[in-house]
Symmetry: C4
Subunit: 291 residues, 4 copies
């Protein structure tokens, strides 16, 4: 298992091409946010927008529309139970993030099945939270696409069958190989299992143990995959690293880190990376105060 | 009666264990927020999240869902009149805060009775605002659990039967002993009556006399009790002290202190405490500007 | 006509008594905000809270409840067409602000009539915006209470019958005497007609010509009257002066001033006043960044 | 084709007349924001308000009312499918912006037809986004008024019939002459085709390739046209220049620029312009932090 370093940020977050438009940076669809867990999809979408995805649409229970727009007018919204609208969106995007706040109800399962049945091999599909649990408990076949799973340890146990206490590298790697795709196993030091090797995140802290932290990560992974398509799996690694690198900077001054603060800090943080490693140690929080 | 000092903060707010996850820092359910007083439960939940509780759910009138998520996507939400959902949540959490904006209507009473009938001896139950009034006027028996009451003087009169003008230490202590639990009596210098003695808060000011200040305190008490379970009653004392210590710092520059500002300042303030007493006098507000 | 000076701020904004609670600083009811103009009552209520009123309730069309709470959880809310709730609130408050965003429909008129029929001689009643127009066009008798009218010139023409081009001191003063109460005539240099003389506001600028500026002033007048009851009419003068003094400071750095920025700046500004005239020239905006 | 320079800002953004009121700075109606794209009209309206328009009303699907007010209480709102209300507003304003988030459904088309049938020759009409697409696909005749079109390249292809690869100056200029009005062709270096010549925007960057950037520009164009009526077409050029000048400043510290940040920065940026070119290089972001 190799430790990730800041180098992954330099490799992935490069200067944007001048001749570009919104489509250049990818279209992301985030699916989740039922009647109870609307905040999760809002946080994930905020991360995707702030990470630099070109166009972001949320498919959720419409009770969440107003809160979404009140926080994030940059995102568009459709009803996740509107089959026609969902199919049209699934067909038109580059990256799909499914799971944040989706819930585990009948409706959640129906939405997930629609998503899984309609992805394309060229799309990236990030599978998070309740989508992982539903996939495991209902034994759903994995959808088409470049898959990224972002389970915490209990979700990984459900999906892989490996009990938490036995989740060591060899077993996890074998489970990833069987499953296909990339697995971001969220734990004290997060591990990423890929077709090209296994990586360990050496940074991060207990200040991140706050509800919504995983939703924010899922949105960032989606945003990075959409925007940095050519980086492939590297984009996933960079998103995971950036998430905790930002948290570590915030945690210098805060007992806990709020997930929305990580999203807010993304544009400044990514600029520092673009400008090169020498400037990394300069605080990046001054320039991005916004609501 | 002993004056509380900054030492209570040092005793309670210790470094988070590295090997931890959201559950380590407790699950909090806040119950309140009817059709008229939705802001109260929003402020209480914001305080609980920012204080560091691991997972926070709000049970309220669903007319408040959108405003809650627009301000605080970190929280989850259920309908407080959905009996099944409420029972499931009550069964799964460590700490319950009941009362902020609950109101005194029939529905409020029904919700309160459900809460009181379904708490467990191992849970902490913070009883605030209209929950205290309803408990007194309807002579409800105290629920199971580690109880914390947070009355202002008129609510204490209702609950204890002691008229405001007679609310001196001996009578209050006797009433607390009869009632059980811990009593945070909010007044000019707040007094805390516990099984292990009586404490007086020597700080705070009239700048805190703003609607919502008590809701914020109730949420902080809940957040501290969930996160610092092993500190027991000390967690209550620390929350009360931190609330006014933050307010005093803000009041150096403001004629009044807004309750939401106290919640916003919590992560920075708690970090200063964790770093030790020497850094206390450094302003903590610079680093935590967020919405 | 006497020019107001900063002295009016020193006279009114004094140190809060230590032995106090929320009720000490007054209860304010704001009535307005129909289906089209909800922002107006939100801005007025925000100004009342930030000015230091102890407890603030909004009576409005409930379509505005969520936006109100999303911005200002400190306020409570009732349906302005719920007659029983409105009467109960009217009976229990110290100060009423009626008009911001009330509209001029049948419902608006019905609400206004209920308010006018149920105020008490001891209450302060601030009459603003559409309430002035409705009062003029429907020839409503003035309600009981200490009245404060806050018309702009066209509203004053409707109420007093004096065409804008003839609105000079003598005629205005005569109209105020006939009308009773205090008249804040909003114009290039606002004039305040009172039973104790006429005052002119020598400050302010065209940067304030932004929608919502008057709603914010009405809320500030309400907040000051509730909190500084013993100052009587002086509280109105201080609110008018503070409103433009804050705007002038913001306008040093901005082409226009947003009304909500004035409300946000109130707690810091009022602290500077409390601390004395020597500190006035220190920027006050640094310390009060909040949402 | 002439390159625009900072001079256009100095020419248009002049000191406000002291003897003025809200009406002096124009009334703007923004029409758009259907059930799916509410964020677009919110961003456009925010830009119009912050640019200094005197009074701003939004006509949209009312599902967007609460999110609009939660972010922007300065704006008023009507139902875009309420024909009577829409006609009354169309009759009373100086400037109309139609298109942001309007959608391309039957309802969108009906609303657009109502707008197009009821503008006046003295009004400025900014036609953006889906309004351009609908106009092209349904071959609607251009409305009365001073027209400003703000297409991106695909929309321009639809409207002008010129394929993207052929969109060079001569063809574009000919199409603009046939169409009438002013065409802001959004591309890598935006081009503005007017009756008085063609201009090229030499600034801006790929950091602006974020959803909502065009909605913000449309709102700014509307706000500038309303406020700086006498500047005529110069107001459009100034809005386009200011939009990217602000973005360039933000992009010094951020990998991407969020559209709402541009709106937020407007009041400070415009003040710097008013104060003269010497101060341009001073950062303008410090003074305008607000929600």
């Amino acid at each position: 298992m190799k430790d990730l370093t800041e180098q992954i940020l330099q490799d992935v977050i490069t200067t944007r091409p001048q001749e570009s438009f919104k489509g250049t940076f990818g279209k992301v669809l985030l699916v989740g946010g039922n009647h109870q867990f609307g905040g999760a999809i809002i946080m994930a979408a905020t991360a995707a927008v702030n990470a630099g995805a070109g166009l972001v649409t949320v498919a959720c229970d419409l009770v969440n529309r107003t809160a979404l727009h009140a926080r994030l007018p940059e995102a568009m919204v459709i009803d996740f139970s509107n089959q026609a609208a969902l199919l049209e969106m699934l067909n038109g995007v580059d990256t799909i993030v499914v799971g944040p706040g989706l819930g585990e109800e009948e409706q959640s399962l129906a939405v997930l099945k629609t998503v899984f049945a309609n992805t394309k091999p060229t799309q990236t599909v990030v599978i998070d939270g309740s989508a992982i649990t539903l996939m495991a408990t209902h034994q759903l076949a994995a959808p088409a696409g470049h898959l990224v799973f972002t389970p915490h340890q209990m979700e990984w146990q459900r999906l892989s069958g490996i009990p938490i206490k036995d989740q060591a590298e060899a077993l996890n790697q074998a489970a990833q190989e069987k499953l296909g795709g990339t697995v971001v196993l969220k734990r004290h030091h997060t591990e990423i299992y890929t077709a090209n090797g296994t990586f360990r995140l050496p940074i991060g802290s207990a200040a991140q143990a706050v509800g919504g932290m995983g939703d924010t990560l899922a949105g960032m992974v989606g945003g990075f995959c959409a925007q940095f398509k050519e980086a492939g799996n590297q984009a996933v690694l960079a998103a995971v690293y950036a998430h905790s690198a930002i948290a570590d900077q915030i945690a210098k001054d805060q007992y806990i880190v709020l997930p929305t603060q990580i999203a807010t800090a993304l544009p400044s943080f990514m600029k520092k990376v673009e400008q090169g490693p020498a400037t990394h140690h300069i605080g990046f929080l001054g320039g991005e105060l916004r609501c």
